[in-house]
């Protein structure tokens, strides 16, 4: 009997998925950060409820819920969701980040063209013709459609050379 309880106890703790533990830890950490930050902001001043009051309550809720969740997990670990397609996530997030970083430098048209070509030709394995047409429509076409149709200006290149040729 004693051995049994000794064996099951650590096992049930281990069964909590690592990603869930990380999540709980992250929420608790954010909660604590907010609690500290909101105390610095003042919960109450001579003028009435202060800027920190509401965030303090939310930080407290977050910490409390993280603890509750941990307890629930330890009692009965939840099934973990299916994994994600890491290749897809990395490709999309990285390409978006590079696009955003380059947009002000290269201008919308060139950076978006490269972005679309990457996704259409390299990742999507579409034909050169189809990729080129779609990418041009999505970059140069969208630029002019938004600029003249909707009066929304998208960024142009910061390089005078590129700027001069209309990019």
């Amino acid at each position: 009997m004693t051995t049994e309880s000794l064996i099951t106890k650590p096992e049930s703790a281990i069964r909590v998925a690592p990603s869930v533990l990380v999540g709980i830890g992250a929420f608790a950490a954010v909660g604590v950060y907010v609690l500290v930050g909101s105390v610095e902001l003042n919960l109450w001043t001579s003028l009435g409820p202060g800027p920190g009051l509401f965030p303090f309550a939310m930080g407290a809720v977050l910490v409390a819920m993280a603890v509750l969740w941990l307890v629930q997990e330890l009692r009965r670990p939840s099934e973990t969701a299916e994994g994600v397609d890491r290749g897809l996530v990395v490709a999309v997030v990285l390409s978006l980040t590079i696009l955003a970083a380059l947009m002000d430098l290269l201008g919308f048209q060139l950076s978006m063209f490269l972005f679309l070509m990457y996704h259409l030709r390299l990742r999507g394995r579409r034909s050169w013709v189809s990729s080129l047409i779609t990418a041009l429509a999505g970059s140069v076409g969208a630029f002019y459609a938004f600029n003249y149709g909707l009066n929304v200006t998208l960024p142009v290149s910061a390089f005078p050379l590129l700027n001069m040729i209309g990019l």
Partner: protein, 500 residues
Amino acid sequence: MDTLNELMGGFAAAMTWQNLLFAFLGCLLGTIIGVLPGIGPVAGVALLIPLTMNLDATGAIIMLCAIFYGTAYGGTITSVLLNTPGEAASAITTIDGYAMTKVGKAGAALTIAAVGSFVGGTIATIGLVAAAKPLGELGLLVGPPEFFALMVVGISLLVALAGKSMVKAVISGALGLLIAMVGIDPVAGAPRFTFGMDRLLDGVSFVAVIVGVFGLSELLSHRKETATPTVHAPNMRALLPTGKEWRRSAPAMARGTGIGFGLGLIPGMTGSVSSLLAYGAEKKFSRHRSQLGKGAIEGVAGPETANNAHANAALIPLFTLGIPASPTIAVLMGAFLQQGLTPGPTLFTEHSEIAWAIIASLFIGNLLLLVLNVPLVGLWTSILRVPSTILTPLILLFMVIGAYTINFSVFDVFVMIGFGLLGLALRHLDIPLAPMVLTLVLGPLMERSLRESLEISQGDFGIFTSRPISAVLIGLGILIVFSPLLKFRKPKALNEDPET
């Protein structure tokens, strides 16, 4: 009589050619969003908010409302033609809708769905007209404590109904409130949680957050790229249902309207619950219940009518109380706020012209949807033929443009990417996203009314229980969260509802 006059005034304002164009465009875009598999109504509406930012308030809201109920119909098309619902609320329609497609009656199914949507939507809008005046007059009774209590009820309903775990729903809600708190404190002016970034003084852009959390994370969580389905547009002659089909649909539409309207009024209920219950009602009460599941027209008419009645009825709590009933409506409310309109009791006193113009446009939009969609079925099917290898990059393109144009700054694109990752993590941890959207929008209003209340009471939290209206509302909120009854009776569909 007064109401009728104001409604007529609203029609006059909504009938300008610009506003008709906005309603038309909204219906069109909404239907496309509904049809497209990669993008749900929440992210879809959020994505289109920047486009409407340059319009005047009336035009912008008319367009966004049209987008909103356009998505409620768009999902039907894929359900019927492809057996895959474009959005959650149309999932149940696949059963009989696709069965009808297999026997060559897709056209009739789509037409009945469109007519049902029109009937449900129009009747729900009449309900909005009837409710607007009396509820609007209650407006002055709603002071800061009552306003706070109202929002507590709205959020507790959503927390109680969304997802499997209440703990996770509360975490999601708290996260939304915290994100809403970044920026200058709306009362005392102190910068909060800006990490020293001047960019964040104005807060985290709500559109970028929603597009990231709902749209981008959805794309990121796709596991494999699906093959392009082969679809065939039904020919035009097959679009007309037979007289028998009309007769069989009528009672189903009536039941669907009742169910959708009733549930639409309750915050936290999503359209999927309505359409599921409407299907259930057909199974119980229809004269042809034995044929359900084998291509019975009632199985399309009931749920689809309920779905649109729900979508339009859900605007009633938004317009009259300022409470968004679903995540999509919360996004819509965010658009209202950005246009300087606070939905709720004061809307009809302070901006009555705009409010009535929007209501009138709902009638017009529902009609447009009917006239538009049936003949355009061919167009929708051709959109469905676009392979995902093209569609995904294009959706990403629109997300980037949408995020960029909020403030014309790349910063918001980074914000969107960041929140896309957060959304992915939340999905992985099985944390519902709906409470977060709701609190993100309601957060500033909630905090403000809390602090105003405490200033009125000079620090006494008892103000929420000593005033009758807020006491009842707070009690209701507590009951909702802790009542075990609700937990057991919670419709199973809610757990599988991707919208929540």
